[in-house]
Assembly symmetry: C2
Homo-oligomer: 281 residues x 2
Amino acid sequence: MHFADSLTRATKEKSPVCVGLDPQLAKLPASLPKTPEGVLAFCKGIVDATKDVAAAVKPQMAYFEVLGWQGMKVFWETCAYAKGQGMVVIADGKRNDIGSTCEAYADAYLSAGSPIDALTVTPFMGSDGINPFIKRCTENEKGIFVQVKNSNPSSGEIQDLPVGDEVVHEHIAQLVESWGMRHLGKETNLSCVGAVVGATYPEEVKYLRTLMPHIPFLIPGYGAQGGGAADVLHGFVPDGTGAIVNAARSIIFASNKDDWREAAKASAEKMAGEIGGALRK
Amino acid sequence: MHFADSLTRATKEKSPVCVGLDPQLAKLPASLPKTPEGVLAFCKGIVDATKDVAAAVKPQMAYFEVLGWQGMKVFWETCAYAKGQGMVVIADGKRNDIGSTCEAYADAYLSAGSPIDALTVTPFMGSDGINPFIKRCTENEKGIFVQVKNSNPSSGEIQDLPVGDEVVHEHIAQLVESWGMRHLGKETNLSCVGAVVGATYPEEVKYLRTLMPHIPFLIPGYGAQGGGAADVLHGFVPDGTGAIVNAARSIIFASNKDDWREAAKASAEKMAGEIGGALRK
């Protein structure tokens, strides 16, 4: 099934919550070893605790790469486990390159047998760095989320530079819409090409939705970074689909004591309730 | 020793040639197995063949990541081998993220014991995505190369957008100079913060050198992508240092027969001679 269609089905069935798997060793529950094995046990526990309420998980690759190749082994095991438990798996790697190197990244993460459903990518090198990913998406029913407007304080240093009567990220949004609109799902009319748009910039979320009507949004910055339900509301399309909202710390590190699984589940449920409530208004 | 100082010593002693390790399985010498072990044997052979003429190697991470965690194991083994043979090791990962995630990438590749000397990074998220890398560079005598103007045809879609009376990549160049000029090496007055500037845009190379007088340049695009010695000349600082020029395919795949080592060495020597000749003029 087309990525946007399967993502949308999952968000309708569960919620548009995406659980960010940012397994920082220092923050793992006290009972777990600070090793790759501890990270795997933690990620599996979070998947088990949240799989009924959250549509997706987003493993952040940096926290696996910092553990060397043993960490990458655990990354793949985490992705396979989450996929097996019925979650949409979004690898957050923000990869970018061109030509045959870009093809290698696309093959690494979006090949036919991969447990990963979608990858975050950076548009900095233009369409040469995007088209090889889109090719794999259409061949293998995968997705990408292109960074458009990030949630961090300094994202504007480049993304908000004025270009004529718009700014850089608005220009990129129009590129993303043009890249994506040729590859729409039958059920949703949404593309396999998505966009990363930070919850911490709610005015931009609203305007960017008008620039990218066919583009699924991955909205990070909910919870610990300061974004709330009202901030992400305008990232959805009119029927209340088309967006997935990520929170990491506020869910996965809700407790570091023996109740960490229950605390993670409760936090994900609370977030799903907040967003669901805002969407119903 | 400060990264810019050690890089410059290596380029003076050998040449400013950087050998791009892009080990595409399909292009490996016919005698090698198309496996992670074959990739490792290939990379070690290229290091052995070029270590006396080229200052640095640049392993392209995508070609290792596409082999799964076994590929990442070989990536680390390749970096350690090249470092042990006296080459400067530049990991080409174009990583970018913010906050604790950016710190995790910095710790992954630029920690004190890492065999990697420098990492390529993407400036798209602004200084939040750069400062954690610079912190590790100053602590551990490492370097970064920030993408400023890439060598590919579509790099201008974002990097050449007009911002007032300049373009986006010129604005980024000024950010890079400001990030880098506080962290200069004593021998060279060059920074541990470098820039990626494509050989395929020689006019931009020349102008960007004036905008970034303290910044070492990593210049890709030599050889197979079309750049030549005259195109990279203006990326050097006036004393003929301050830049390293990367070629991958034209060196590592100079032959896929049994003479692949000798052919790689001859290609690197030819390139070193071309650049040296142009610099002496």
